[in-house]
């Protein structure tokens, strides 16, 4: 009396059969990926996210100018965005170009900037120009930039009060925010795994004590904490040190939520019958954790990680915005938003808000990918009878 899943007569074609076999032998990761692919919103968000991350990494290459004071355009402070054109009154061209804007401020114009566009002279946008030096990821040197212009500056998003190119600043800011987020999430994750893991696996009084600690840390109010830290950071610290310190603190107060999730997952999984089966074979705790428990919640943890990311980015942005986090000259979205608060800007220099759009898109992309992962992460739930 043999039993064969594949002995059913050919109502299924060979291709059908291959597909079914693939389904039967699919590991958890493959099943999750298959389910994830079916969700259009999540796939789009994932694509957007990858684009943003790559833009962040390659920011120095993609931006035409150095985002710090060194790369500023002294003649074009608070300048409006220059959008390259293809056609003007003299005809069209395949290569995009810009006209020069001459600005004048004098008693005649009541000390307001008056702009005159010189539309006879075309300045063509060049691609792959040599420009200022940079180091991608901090160690790959280069000086090639994606685009530039043959005479003068091209400011796709305009400039700020000191003439720094907002486009360049935005790209670098994305990278900074991602870095801070990564470090924060990493620290939180490690702490959460250890504390939540021990708590969930051993239970009992260890669990009670650790839970009290977790709750205590969670109740620490963020703003007063950061105000205190802002006061405490010595002025001599370089911006890099400050940067790492802020990330560290974000991680140190961000772990309780993750720890709680890890603990809950472990508490449920620990009581599963297959864990008991392994224990009855005499498996050690480390074997059970490694082979049964960890794989069982890897997918959930990845979801948690992805969803924690935007919170870290949001936290850093908010803190920098109110001046308690990173400061100039470090580029982060929060720092760039610091300048947005005056009415002057709101009325006259609306292009300062362009980084906000990037910021929103970045956070939303993380959220959608996280949600998509969460929906895809439990392919086994509806296979049980």
């Amino acid at each position: 009396m043999t039993d064969n899943l594949t002995s059913i007569p050919t109502s299924a074609t060979a291709q059908d059969q291959k597909a079914k076999e693939a389904y039967f032998t699919a590991s958890q990761r493959q099943l999750v990926w298959a389910r994830f692919k079916k969700q259009r919103a999540a796939m789009v968000a994932a694509a957007v996210l990858i684009v943003l991350i790559v833009s962040g990494i390659l920011a120095p290459f993609l931006s035409p100018y150095d985002p710090t004071i060194a790369g500023r355009n002294k003649d074009y402070l608070n300048g409006a965005p220059n959008i390259p054109m293809f056609c003007d009154k003299n005809g069209c061209s395949l290569r995009p170009f810009l006209h020069t804007i001459e600005r004048e401020r004098s008693i005649k114009t009541n000390f307001r900037w008056v702009e005159k566009i010189n539309d006879d002279k075309r300045r063509y946008v060049q691609f792959f120009v040599t420009g200022s030096d940079y180091k991608i990821l901090g160690f790959i040197p280069g000086d090639l930039h994606l685009f530039g212009i043959d005479d003068g500056f091209v400011h796709l998003f305009g400039t700020d009060a000191s003439g720094k190119d907002i486009f360049s600043r935005t790209l670098h800011a994305i990278w900074t925010s991602l870095q801070v987020g990564s470090i924060g999430v990493f620290i939180a994750f490690v702490l959460a795994l250890v504390i939540g893991g021990v708590s969930g696996y051993y239970g009992g009084w260890i669990d009670s004590v650790l839970q009290m600690v977790t709750d205590a840390v969670r109740t620490v109010p963020a703003i007063p904490l950061f105000m205190a830290i802002a006061a405490f950071i010595p002025q001599e610290w370089t911006s890099e040190m400050r940067f790492f310190f802020i990330s560290l603190i974000l991680g140190l107060i961000g772990w309780p939520t993750l720890a709680r999730r890890v603990r809950t997952h472990l508490l449920t999984e620990r009581n599963q019958e297959y864990v008991l089966a392994a224990q009855l074979s005499g498996a050690s705790s480390s074997h059970i954790i490694r082979r049964h428990l960890l794989p069982s919640f890897t997918s959930y943890i990845i979801v948690d990680l992805v969803i924690s990311f935007p919170y870290m980015v949001l936290s850093e942005t908010a803190l920098s915005f109110i001046g308690l986090g990173l400061k100039d000259p470090v580029n982060s979205l929060g720092v760039m938003l610091q300048n947005v608060t005056s009415a002057d800007v709101l009325m006259n220099y609306q292009w300062y808000f362009i980084p906000v759009i990037f910021f929103i898109v970045l956070v939303m992309a993380f959220v959608f990918v996280g949600d998509g992962l969460r929906d895809a992460a439990d392919p086994y739930s509806d296979l049980n009878n």
Partner: protein, 331 residues
């Protein structure tokens, strides 16, 4: 009129990630008042889906074939259940003329509301009763189902009652609206056997007293033998045999029914071997062509069984089978 419900050509498919799955195919049956029908089948047979269809309770991804029809005969005339859409219309069917009880009573009682409150809510939804009147009826029902100290139990919560008592309370709640038809989906499967015996006795008494019809869904043929008048055996969404309970159990016609009976351990013959039905139930994605049972049947009639669906045959006045062996014109 004696007829309670008529189901004709019920075909139901579900849209899932893996494709269109046929859960119920061409199911027809009818039930009269005072009759108990056993709906027997194993996993994947479609019995629960059929029961839920009677109250139009299936999930949103359920696709009913246009030829399917479920006619419920209420006091106000025949009602086409599948055409009902508005909650007000469905209310007549759900909990009103038809009540349903489930396998897991903890699942049908809200854990944080007392049993009494839920029963009263049920009653008030289906009639114009004041709270006091509803309470009186509920306590009376609790007493009727054999729950001791009913007034006290009325205020208790589901977790405070034992399994058997919870099941009785659920029966009380289901019957308080005086339904014409009771659908019981594996109501005693989760109960201990001594408690099951009590609950089955109770249900039989209630059928007599209320003159209800009961559709009793179970996988346990013994329960069916003791409670039902007629039994329908389902396999992979089709009724493959239906008849009076003595007829089907003592003289089964369909190879699957015979297989089921041969696989049952019987207390009156301890020496008989247990013969399983060979093979496994095909996965819903691999629905067999022709007769649904052909992949496991030991009495195949050649290629016919895997290419043609048998037509229904009445071998005795009330006993029908879906099998080529009984098709007079085997085409």
């Amino acid at each position: 009129m004696d007829r309670l419900i008529e189901v004709k050509n019920l075909t139901l498919k579900f849209r899932t990630d893996e494709g269109l799955i046929t859960a119920v195919e061409d199911v027809s049956f009818s039930l009269n008042r005072g009759e108990v029908m056993g709906l027997v089948g194993e996993s994947g047979s479609g019995k629960s889906v059929t029961a839920k269809a009677l109250m139009h309770l299936n999930a949103r991804n359920a696709l009913y074939d246009p030829e399917s029809s479920i006619i419920l005969h209420t006091d106000r005339g025949p009602v086409d259940v599948l055409s009902l859409r508005r909650p007000a219309d469905l209310k007549v069917v759900r909990g009103g003329a038809i009540s349903m009880i489930f396998q897991e009573p903890m699942a049908s009682f809200a854990p944080s509301i007392s049993i009494g409150k839920q029963m009263v809510e049920q009653l008030q939804l289906h009639g114009d009763l004041s709270k006091a009147q509803a309470r009186e009826i509920s306590v009376e029902m609790l007493d009727r189902v054999g729950i001791s100290d009913p007034a006290k139990r009325f205020d208790q919560y589901a977790f405070e009652l034992s399994g058997g008592m919870r099941q009785r309370a659920m029966i009380a709640m289901a019957l308080s609206t005086k339904p014409k038809l009771l659908i019981a989906d594996e109501p005693t499967t989760a109960l201990d056997v001594t408690i099951q015996a009590q609950v089955l006795d109770l249900m039989k008494d209630l059928v007599d007293e209320f003159n209800m019809g009961i559709i009793f869904i179970t996988h346990d043929l013994g329960v069916v033998a003791q409670t039902a008048n007629k039994v329908s055996v389902m396999y992979l969404g089709r009724i493959i045999e239906e008849g009076p309970v003595r007829g089907v159990i003592n003289t089964p016609m369909h190879p699957y029914t015979k297989g089921l009976l041969a696989a049952l351990p019987r207390l009156d013959d301890l020496d008989a071997p247990l013969t399983p039905v060979p093979g496994d139930i095909p996965s819903p994605l691999e629905r067999p062509q022709g007769c649904v049972f052909n992949t496991r049947c030991g009495e195949l009639m050649g290629a016919l069984c895997s290419t043609h669906i048998p037509s229904e045959e009445w071998v005795k006045p009330e006993h029908r089978v879906l099998c080529h062996h009984f098709n007079k014109d085997a085409s």
